[in-house]
């Protein structure tokens, strides 16, 4: 038996001496491989007597599993050592910048239009659009602007050459001065009840600190049977609260004049200029926000809708203006300058929710 003890000791020592996995593998082959020492002794069992064979067999099996366990435990130590050594070498400077990713922005006008559209969509208004090159009929006449009236002149219209072969207000081509033109298209092409909002570019011949020759409006139109100014007020008050995200928002309606609405109103929201800082909400001041009114019966008539059966309301607001108020953008003209610093600063990430 001492033979086996000696072998065991010898083998265990070799296992312990193995310094890496490949050396350990060699030890396994030397000890337990086909031609290994333990295997070799197993092969001699056949020459032993039954008793002795049984005894020796058990002893050899025990030795085999002991050595095997030694090797396994040595292996796990060596693997851990190897891993530790690898981890020690494998190091990156995590303060380095990651690979650059390109990120663009969405223009504040787009964001504002999407926000406004979403609020009105919940109130049942679909988005309608229309052409920017228009004629006097759609821009003025159908909207009850009397010919040559100062109200027409106040629009500072850009004109294009007259349409050949046409006369009157359909011959006069122009860039629409307001999105109200689309009211006419919608009423001519759809049957009431109607609920639409119309975002889009409009054009006026004016260029200074607070005017650009192109800007954006959103028009709203509702035509139905039982609609009065109370609904108009309710709708717009709700809109302003949600758009400006101010719960306690004072609002004020006051008389105004638009040829295509009667009665007409302008809506102001409360604001404060205390300490030179402009803030929307309760305060000492008022800020004009939009124009609105009940659709003039003449407009309904001009568009083929019976004003005795239907009435409705319309409103319009300047997109740049409300974007400037909501997002604190100081200068109108910068909206169209394409300055990448401005676009990145005032723009919105593509995934930002509306």
């Amino acid at each position: 038996m001492s033979n086996l003890d000696t072998l065991k000791k010898e083998l265990v020592d070799t296992v312990k001496a193995a310094n890496d996995i490949s050396a350990l593998e060699e030890v396994r082959v030397t000890a337990l491989g086909k031609k290994g020492k333990v295997t070799g002794m197993m092969k001699t069992l056949g020459s032993l007597g039954p008793e002795e064979r049984k005894e020796m067999g058990q002893a050899l099996n025990k030795l085999k599993s002991e050595i095997s366990a030694e090797i396994d435990s040595r292996a796990s130590i060596l693997k851990e050592q190897a891993l530790n050594a690898r981890l020690k070498d494998e190091k990156i400077d995590v303060t380095l910048s990651p690979r650059p990713e390109m990120s663009g922005t969405i223009h504040p006008i787009t964001k504002t239009v999407e926000e406004i559209s979403a609020i009105f969509a919940e109130m049942g208004f679909a988005v309608a659009e229309g052409p920017e090159i228009e004629d006097e009929f759609h821009n003025f006449t159908a909207l009850n602007f009397p010919e040559e009236h100062p109200a027409r002149q106040m629009h500072d219209t850009f004109y294009l050459p007259d349409v050949e072969g046409k006369t009157g207000d359909e011959a006069k081509r122009l860039l629409r001065t307001h999105t109200s033109t689309v009211q006419v298209h919608v009423m001519q092409n759809q049957k009431p009840p109607l609920r639409v909002i119309v975002p889009g570019r409009v054009y006026r011949d004016d260029y200074d600190m607070t005017h650009t020759p192109m800007f954006h409006q959103i028009e709203g139109l509702l035509v139905d049977k039982e609609i009065n100014m109370g609904h108009l007020k309710g709708c717009l008050v709700e809109f302003c609260k949600r758009f400006f995200e101010v719960d306690e928002l004072p609002t004020r309606f006051r008389p105004s004049f638009f040829p295509f609405t009667e009665p007409s109103a302008e809506m102001d929201i409360g604001c404060s200029r205390a300490g030179g800082e402009f803030k929307i909400g309760a305060g000492e001041g008022w800020m004009e926000i939009l124009g609105c009114g009940m659709v003039h019966p003449n407009v309904l008539k001009n568009c083929g809708i019976d004003p005795n059966e239907y009435q409705g309301f319309a409103f319009g607001l300047g997109v740049e203006r409300v974007a400037m108020l909501k997002y604190g953008i100081p200068d109108l003209r910068t909206f169209f300058e394409s300055d990448i610093r401005w676009l990145k600063h005032y723009g919105f990430g593509p995934m930002e929710d509306v």
Partner: protein, 795 residues
């Protein structure tokens, strides 16, 4: 429209404060634009009497004053050389704000002497730049009263924003009438004045066009003196920013502002013969009072005498008959002109005058008689002389009409109730005449046509605040609103491009003429009809035929600011024709500089055509198109590089262009950088064919896909896509992907040839493929490529 508070109060008997008046004006639709209240800024500043003045013991240039403020006597240290005992000046007590110094006055101690306020100079009160000394007030100024009053600054100037329908409030009397109706006082009746003519009017008037000028009252006043007008009249006019000229002219201006009754005065000695009012004839000219000469034409109202045109009726007078300081005899004109005729003439000749402003909005035709009498009386009063009889040509038109109204309609429109009695009361206070509920409009209102106008009148006087805010929701039976396909595609495209690193911009829809030529504005002959008649500047002259030129300018400006790597996009209209359907919605992008920035992990890589092609493909994919087999050709329009650009079509319809911008265009635009652009025509994209939301069933293969690489030598002009198609065509079920992973020319490849390497992915469906089957397929692939492209497998 500007007026002073005291002028308003000449016609309105009211106890209301300035603040009450201004709130009410806005509430009734006469929106306050500005209030200049100089008295408010000088609150607390009083007339101070210097009762003692001694030299400061420790400062040569200072004096120690004792100022009587009416309530107490205070020590004041003063540096003004003109301060002396006995004078009266403007005293500002401790705590008051000195606008010229932008400080709030504190109790001071100057070299050992306490000072409890200051005596002010004009500069310190922002009255002028004069800082020579303190203001010296007249001796009789009562001690302790508000200094603003003594300085004549206690009359606030109110400016209202007059909407074009309210011509009646272009006169102060009209504003007073509206305020009185709104319960803010009582309208003072105008004096009934009739000046009896004491000689026959030597100048007759004939009206040749009674539609344009239906009523004309003329009056000859002889023996007048046209000196500077009295101080009170000059002050009135100055308070609203008008310069006094002479008594006669000032009287006409006074009537314009006060009563919305423009008048004209001719020097009667410069008139030849009688007056005829007719349409001008083309070729006639008028040397007008604004020192301009105008070419007249038919449709303009000419006031003529035997010498020709002497005035443009309702707009401006002529110099040939103008009154001056030597005028002895004057002819007064008080007429009514048709608003539309005046507006047309004013617009044509671009004359902005106080008369035009009022006549084109419509004055009160029924006031002409009275206005003429009042003006005559005022001329006699201020200039002396005697008046002729009136010469009245035509008669005042009646612009009133009767509206059949039903009081219950008020609630239907406004959403709340005003009692009938109150409705009646409001309407009568506004000058309506009621006979039952037949309502006759006042002669001064041109803006009232029907029931909604009556409702608005009631509302604005009762107050818009009374309209309830009725909760407003989606109609109960209405489906949720969804965007239409194009709207959704526009939104998706914008977000997609932003995630791809392009920033959205918005540029003007019009552009410079020469630049528009470069981008095909006249390719279909529409340039002229897309060119503005009245552009604001040459930069904004022609409706853009493409989004690219503005984007090139925009990117270029950013490069010039020091940002060389720029990618911008815009989604917006381009204008192919001026017709309603000529406007297309285009998504366009432009990249310049590096696509991949220099970084420790990688080399910089400049943007190239494939980057913008990828943008286009991504848009098409987002819009629901199958982009696996796009029909790409190389016939992009002339603003693209002919060899580095592509066109994508669906059938015959162009859906996108992409490529490098043509170098000669860039050199015309003076840009040195490389620009890669694309244009996608969103409204040309087909509707999605999907009819249902269900996706086809996924049938994943049980077998692994395998990949084989091939390299072919082909002629250099063979398009790579052709090879890929040749390979795919061999077995469309088995070959699921063909990816070009290398294109090579140079060493080892003959001139005129290129090597194209492709990875072919095979996806067995029924069983794994044997080597033999793979070999057979490979042979077919090689044969197909050779047949369709002339390519040979590289050995």
């Amino acid at each position: 429209m500007k007026f002073s508070l005291s002028w308003l109060k000449e016609y309105l008997d009211t106890e209301a404060s300035l603040e009450e008046i201004s709130i009410k004006l806005t509430a009734i639709g006469l929106e306050i634009e500005d209030i200049e209240d100089r008295a408010k800024a000088m609150e607390g500043f009083v007339v101070g009497h210097v009762v003692a003045a001694e030299k400061h013991p420790d400062a040569d240039k200072l004096q120690c004053l004792v100022v009587d403020t009416g309530t107490e006597k205070l020590n004041v240290v003063c540096g003004a050389p003109n301060a002396k005992k006995g004078m009266k000046g403007v005293f500002a007590p401790v705590g008051s704000y000195i606008p010229g110094l932008d400080v709030v006055l504190k109790k001071g101690n100057i070299r050992g002497k306490d000072s409890f306020g200051m005596m002010c100079s004009e500069k310190e009160l922002l009255l002028s730049d004069s800082h020579e000394g303190v203001i010296e007030l007249p001796e009789e100024a009562p001690i302790g009263v508000a200094a603003a009053k003594i300085l004549g600054l206690d009359d606030p100037i109110i400016e209202i924003n007059l909407t074009p329908n309210r011509g009646d409030c272009a006169g102060i009397y009209g504003v007073a009438r509206d305020l009185a109706a709104a319960g803010l006082g009582t309208l003072k009746p105008l004096k009934e004045e009739v000046v009896k003519g004491i000689f026959e009017n030597p100048v007759s008037i004939s009206l040749s066009n009674k539609d344009a000028c239906p009523h004309f009252i003329g009056r000859y006043i002889k023996g007048v003196k046209n000196e500077p007008s009295p101080q009170w009249l000059q002050d009135r006019l100055r308070s609203i920013g008008q310069n006094p000229i002479s008594t006669l002219v000032d009287i006409t201006n006074y009537f314009t502002i006060a009563f919305n009754r423009p008048l004209h005065v001719f020097d009667a000695d410069k008139l030849s013969g009688n007056i005829d009012v007719r349409f001008a004839r083309s070729g006639e000219k008028l040397a007008a009072l604004d020192d301009q000469e105008y070419d007249l034409s038919d449709g303009m109202i000419a006031i003529c005498d035997d010498s020709g045109v002497i005035g443009l009726g309702g707009i401006i007078g002529g110099t040939s008959t103008a009154v001056d300081e030597n005028t002895k005899n004057v002819y007064l004109e008080c007429a009514y002109f048709d608003p539309t005729t005046i507006a047309k003439t004013g617009q044509k000749l671009k004359i902005e005058s106080d008369a035009r402003y009022r006549f084109e909005r419509g004055i009160d035709p029924a006031f002409s008689d009275k206005g003429a009498e009042m003006a005559t009386a005022m001329i006699l009063d201020l200039c002396g002389g005697t008046a002729s009889e009136n010469f009245v040509a035509g008669k005042a038109p009646d612009i009133t009409h009767t509206i059949s109204y039903k009081p219950e309609i008020f609630e239907k429109i406004s959403g709340y109730v005003i009692e009938e009695l109150r409705q009646k009361e409001i309407l009568e206070s506004l000058g309506f005449e009621l006979s039952g509920w037949d309502i006759k409009t006042p002669s001064w209102r041109h803006d009232l046509d029907g029931t909604p106008d009556i409702v608005e009148e009631l509302l604005r006087i009762d107050g818009y605040d009374n309209i309830p805010a009725t909760p407003f929701l989606r109609a109960p039976d209405q489906a949720l609103v969804v965007k239409d396909l194009l709207q959704q595609r526009v939104i998706d495209t914008r977000r997609l491009l932003a995630t791809r690193g392009l920033s959205e911009t918005i540029t003007y829809s019009f552009m410079e003429s020469d630049k528009s030529d470069l981008f095909g504005v006249n390719d279909n002959g529409y340039k002229e009809s897309l060119t503005l008649v009245n552009p604001i500047s040459a930069d904004f002259a022609v409706m853009r035929p493409s989004l690219l030129p503005n984007l090139i300018d925009a990117v270029g400006r950013n490069i010039d600011r020091g940002y060389p790597d720029i990618s911008l996009f815009e989604v917006g209209g381009v204008y192919k024709t001026p017709e309603h359907d000529g406007q297309l919605t285009v998504a366009a992008g432009l990249r310049s500089g590096n696509f991949e920035a220099r970084h420790w992990s990688q080399e910089a890589r400049a943007a190239d055509v494939m980057d913008v092609k990828a943008d286009v493909v991504a848009i098409l994919k987002t819009c629901g198109l199958n982009t696996d087999s796009l029909q790409i050709s190389t016939d992009a329009p002339h603003w693209y590089h002919p060899g580095r650009s592509g066109v994508i079509r669906l059938g015959k319809t162009v859906i996108a262009y992409f490529g490098e911008i043509h170098p000669s265009i860039l050199s015309t635009l003076k840009r040195d950088e490389n620009y890669l652009g694309f244009e996608v025509f969103l409204d040309h994209l087909p509707k999605s064919k999907k009819k249902s939301t269900t996706k086809p069933l996924l049938k994943p293969s049980l077998f692994q896909p395998l990949s084989r690489d091939f390299a072919f030598l082909v002629n250099i002009d063979v398009e790579a896509e052709k090879l890929a198609r040749a390979i795919k065509g061999v077995d469309k079920n088995l070959i699921t992907e063909v990816e070009i992973f290398d294109v090579y020319t140079g060493k080892g490849v003959d001139d005129g040839k290129k090597s194209v390497a492709l990875a072919v992915t095979l996806q067995p469906v029924k069983k794994t493929m044997t080597d033999e089957e793979i070999t057979t397929l490979s042979t077919k692939i090689i044969e197909s490529v050779e047949k369709k492209t002339g390519g040979v497998l590289r050995g």
